[in-house]
């Protein structure tokens, strides 16, 4: 049955949200300009329209989720992003897998933030919400799905499949509803996909608040007052955005097959840049509060961070990146709309800023080298340059598009080695930043002159030298660049810790946000240096099998081929691949794939033998068991050292019908390093093409070879039942017991020969790991010999890559410290703002 109600409801809510956003914007405009008498009624009306908008936005999200949740595959969105087998938490991921869902998420967060703004501000509500509602109108227009002639405004998530697809089935039967969807991208079937996008979009959404306060300030000619309410939000925004970036990096590290956490891909850069600018903005805003300098700089930075978020959205979602990013994004034809969105707010911001520029107070006083303003300004400048250095090359596809739109031809491509290219700059900027934070913090808390500075810095300087020397010796850091990084990182950690300790002694924990965040920065720097700079690929292929081309020797083969059960030496480890496993609901760990037989139902299998873990029986032979995502196979890889099993890893891989091989790594976590292992290629034995092999005559007790495996024919026995069913009368069944040796593994195979009347039944036994199918072809009683027919297939293997990433935990810990620092700072600044508000000042 086709359901059109939910789609219509959703679409109606989109239109309602759009209209109410516009009405609310207009209303807030009048509220802002209204005289005292009329203000209350304008405010009420504005709020009511805002609430209508909010309810409509939530209803949009509800409708879309209802469609996904109830598997309404007549809708394109559910069909292309979800499937029957998907658990509920991944349905949430399906929700924002598509771009429309992502926009809905963004809209939703803006509504939430809007609510908070309304209820925490008195004076600023009108103008700030005016900006908010304009942004909302633009965002909702992205999912409007209205077509006027050739003009398409927005892409609706509530489209029916039959309106989108050109499949011929819809001409025959317009009421056709597919039984299953095409599913969620397996790479996104991950807990991080559930929490990363909401965080990132909250970050995106929150950049609007400082911007809206600034616009309000400029519009009302309150050039300085906007800073206080905006500051906690700017810190909040930087924190959430930073958290989103880190989650993305962590996600890439633990589940994607990129081999690392950061690749300087355009999509990553697009978020990194606004974050840098927002951090710079926080610093100049704080400076302004202390000393009335850097107001104009703050304004430029706040505007830039907001516009850069829109630019990032444009880059990522317009399709302009095309073939320069490994992330694939479908072009929904929204590029024009996204461009207008960005240019509109850029124009408004520039217009207001230029109009008011002359009136914005500036401090004519030249900042002394011994003033904190000077150092913070240098720090902010460094952040700005970092952002600039990333955005310039990331925008290369945009320049090409621009040149081409004017009829020119540009063949400029992004740097071939992105990681090397960006690192070469960002590294030195980061070193400069680390040093600046160390020095800057001292200026921040004390009035300094030359002599004081020397005195204050001498202890941290010595301590950090000692610390760095320790790290360098223990970590064997002999590269000069890396030594500099360690020095800078150690200095910022020590210097900021000194400040932190002083603050804690005075019991002013509230003020410690800055020093905490900076300690985090130092740790991140050292963690990145070790985990990336000293990342050691241990899976170097030494097999010597090459194409015999001379240049090939220069290339390191970073993958190794592991045959099942065959040990391979990888640096200090001996590694053995042990076959494929599955995850079964209710059973701890993994279950060998050949213990399970698919039933044809989604995520359902029958146990072909007892499933026991640690002597505890979980399922008996013949039980129906539920699998956790049946497509996922886990490849058991054992790591030995001196014949001791050290640990076992289960990297995941999924041969996906539409996307090829999808893999996810597994890592052994130590405190000081990770051993990261991922699958690059697998043997596809779903439907093996058996190669017909030889016939072998063997008597019980004899040995022979199957595909190079030593095979022993242990003997034969007469059996009385088959698969638990008793035989019919007159049947004779003989089971031949074979033992196949493969390195340290003994495999038992037992093909059965059945005689029923004049008929002969041959029940082969198959071992998928070794790629062997054995059948008893005949029994020759006179000679006491069995004739075996042996078919063979490629024995199982896995191609994998493994790398040691030292000190990666320092990186993760550093990010956590940094986030705590941000949180402390938010608390302090919000508290400040609340106190001022209570005094009736704002």
């Amino acid at each position: 049955m086709m359901n059109t109600f939910m789609g219509n409801l959703g679409h109606f809510m989109v239109i309602l949200a759009f209209v109410s956003a516009l009405v609310s914007a207009v209303s807030y405009y009048y509220y802002t300009r209204a005289g005292e008498l009329e203000k209350a009624s304008w405010r009420n009306f504005s709020r009511i329209t805002f609430y209508i908008h909010g309810i409509a936005s939530v209803a949009i999200a509800f409708s879309l989720f209802e469609i996904i949740y109830n598997h309404r595959f007549e809708y394109f969105y559910a069909y292309s992003h979800s499937s029957m087998g998907l658990p509920v938490h991944y349905m949430i991921s399906s929700f924002w897998e598509g771009q429309e869902g992502a926009f809905i998420l963004w809209i939703f967060w803006n509504v939430v933030l809007g609510l908070v703004v309304i209820h925490t501000n008195k004076f600023w509500e009108g103008p700030v919400m005016l900006v908010f509602m304009l942004v909302q109108a633009f965002l909702v227009s992205m999912i409007l799905g209205v077509v006027i002639g050739d003009l398409k405004i927005g892409s609706s998530p509530f489209m029916l499949l039959r309106d989108v697809s050109e499949a011929p089935i819809f001409q025959i039967n317009p009421e056709f509803v597919p039984e299953d969807g095409t599913g969620l991208n397996p790479l996104l079937q991950n807990i991080w996909m559930v929490i990363h996008p909401p965080t990132l979009f909250l970050g995106y959404a929150s950049t609007l608040i400082p911007f809206a306060f600034l616009m309000a300030g400029l519009g009302l000619k309150k050039y300085a007052e906007w800073i206080r309410p905006a500051l906690p939000w700017a810190i909040f925004s930087a924190m959430i955005l930073g958290m989103g970036i880190i989650m993305g990096a962590y996600w890439a590290y633990v589940t994607l097959n990129f081999g690392g956490y950061w690749n300087w891909d355009p999509v990553e850069n697009a978020v990194y840049v606004p974050w840098l600018i927002m951090v710079a903005a926080i610093h100049t805003m704080i400076t302004f509060k202390k000393s009335s300098t850097a107001l104009k700089t703050s304004m430029v930075l706040v505007i830039s961070s907001f516009i850069l978020v829109l630019y990032a959205t444009f880059l990522v979602r317009s399709g302009v990146l095309g073939d320069s990013s490994v992330h694939s994004f479908t072009d929904l034809g929204l590029s024009g709309q996204l461009l207008i969105y960005m240019l509109f707010f850029l124009a408004v911001a520039i217009f207001l800023a230029v109009r008011e520029w002359k009136h914005i107070p500036t401090s004519e006083k030249e900042a002394s080298v011994y003033s904190r303003e000077f150092w913070i300004f240098i720090g902010a400048t460094t952040l700005g340059l970092m952002a600039f250095q990333v955005i310039v090359p990331t925008s290369i596809p945009v320049y090409n598009a621009l040149v081409e739109s004017f009829g020119g031809l540009s063949n400029l491509a992004p740097p071939a080695d992105q990681i090397g290219f960006y690192t070469k700059f960002q590294l030195w900027f980061a070193v400069a930043l680390a040093l600046l934070t160390g020095i800057g913090q001292f200026f921040w808390w004390n009035k300094m002159d030359k002599q004081d500075l020397k005195n204050a810095l001498v202890t941290p300087y010595i301590v950090s030298m000692v610390l760095a020397a320790l790290i360098i010796t223990i970590g064997k850091v002999y590269d000069i660049t890396y030594i500099v990084i360690v020095l800078a990182g150690a200095f910022t950690i020590v210097a900021n810790s000194t400040i932190l300790i002083k603050l804690l002694k005075k019991k002013t924990f509230k003020l410690s946000g800055g020093s905490l965040a900076h300690i985090g920065l130092g740790m991140v720097l050292i963690g990145v240096m070790f985990s990336s700079g000293y990342s050691d690929t241990i899976s170097i292929n030494m097999s010597g099998l090459t194409y015999k081309k001379d240049w090939e020797d220069e290339l390191n083969k970073e993958n190794v081929l592991l045959w099942i059960n065959k040990p391979l030496q990888m640096k200090e480890y001996e590694v053995i691949y042990r076959g494929r496993y599955k995850k079964v609901v209710g059973v701890p760990g993994y279950v060998k794939a050949d213990a399970l037989e698919a039933t044809g139902e989604i995520n359902q299998s029958i146990a072909v033998r007892d499933i026991a873990v640690n002597d505890q029986l979980y399922h008996q032979k013949g039980d129906t068991v539920k699998l956790v995502l049946e497509e996922n196979s886990y490849f058991k890889v054992e790591y030995y050292q001196e014949d001791d099993l050290k640990f076992t890893l289960f990297p995941m891989s999924q041969p996906n019908p539409t996307m090829g091989l999808i893999s996810s790594p597994d890592s052994k976590r130590y405190l000081t390093r990770d051993l990261y292992t991922h699958v690059s290629a697998i043997n596809d034995y779903e439907e093996p093409e058996w190669k017909e092999g030889d016939r072998v005559n063997a008597a019980p007790g004899e040995q022979f070879f199957i595909n190079d495996f030593v095979t022993r024919f242990e003997g034969a026995e007469v059996v009385n039942e088959l698969d638990g069913l008793p035989l019919e009368e007159g049947d004779v069944a003989v089971k031949a017991n074979l033992t196949i040796l493969d390195y340290d593994v003994e495999k038992k195979l037992a093909p059965i020969f059945l005689i029923r009347g004049n008929q002969v039944g041959k029940i082969p036994d198959i071992d998928n790991d070794l790629g062997i199918r054995v059948e008893v072809e005949n029994i020759v009683p006179e000679e006491n010999k069995f004739v075996f027919k042996v078919d063979t297939y490629q024995k199982d293997y896995v191609v994998m890559k493994a790398a040691v990433k030292p000190m990666i935990n320092v990186l993760w810990l550093g990010t956590i410290v940094m986030l705590i620092g941000f949180s402390v700072a938010i608390f302090r600044r919000f508290d400040e703002f609340q106190k001022m508000k209570k005094k009736g000042l704002e």
């Binding site: 499949l161 056709f176 400029l412 099998l545 194409y547 240049w551 970073e558 996307m659 091989l661």
Partner: protein, 138 residues
Amino acid sequence: MKRGHIIGLGIIGLAIIIIITSIGDASTYESFSTAKTMAVNGKTEAIHVVGELKKDRNGEVVGIEVGQDKTSFTFIMVDNDGTEQQVYYNEPVPADFIRSEQVVVIGTYKSEEMFVADKILMKCPSKYQETDVKTASS
């Protein structure tokens, strides 16, 4: 001259350096024939070539040869000018490689006959152009 001016000039100087190096380090899109000329002239920096995998009349991809140890492979790519070229990639065949509509190889000629890719980017058919809706559950 005030210190502010010096800093300003310093920033502008750095910005210019950044732009120049960005352009200097930027790669270019080439065809196989121009890439070969570059390699012959001793320019070894990696360039981008856009093209498609070679297909036979039935639309099947041809010319993929996986190395014996399965850790590398070669394939035949046709660039936008129609030039065919064998390309070597020092990694296993990437997911979805055969289905890709367009491939971008980043690399350089290592010998007269062989282009060696350091990195391959693929553009896969988007779901939005999907015309075959599964009519039965599988």
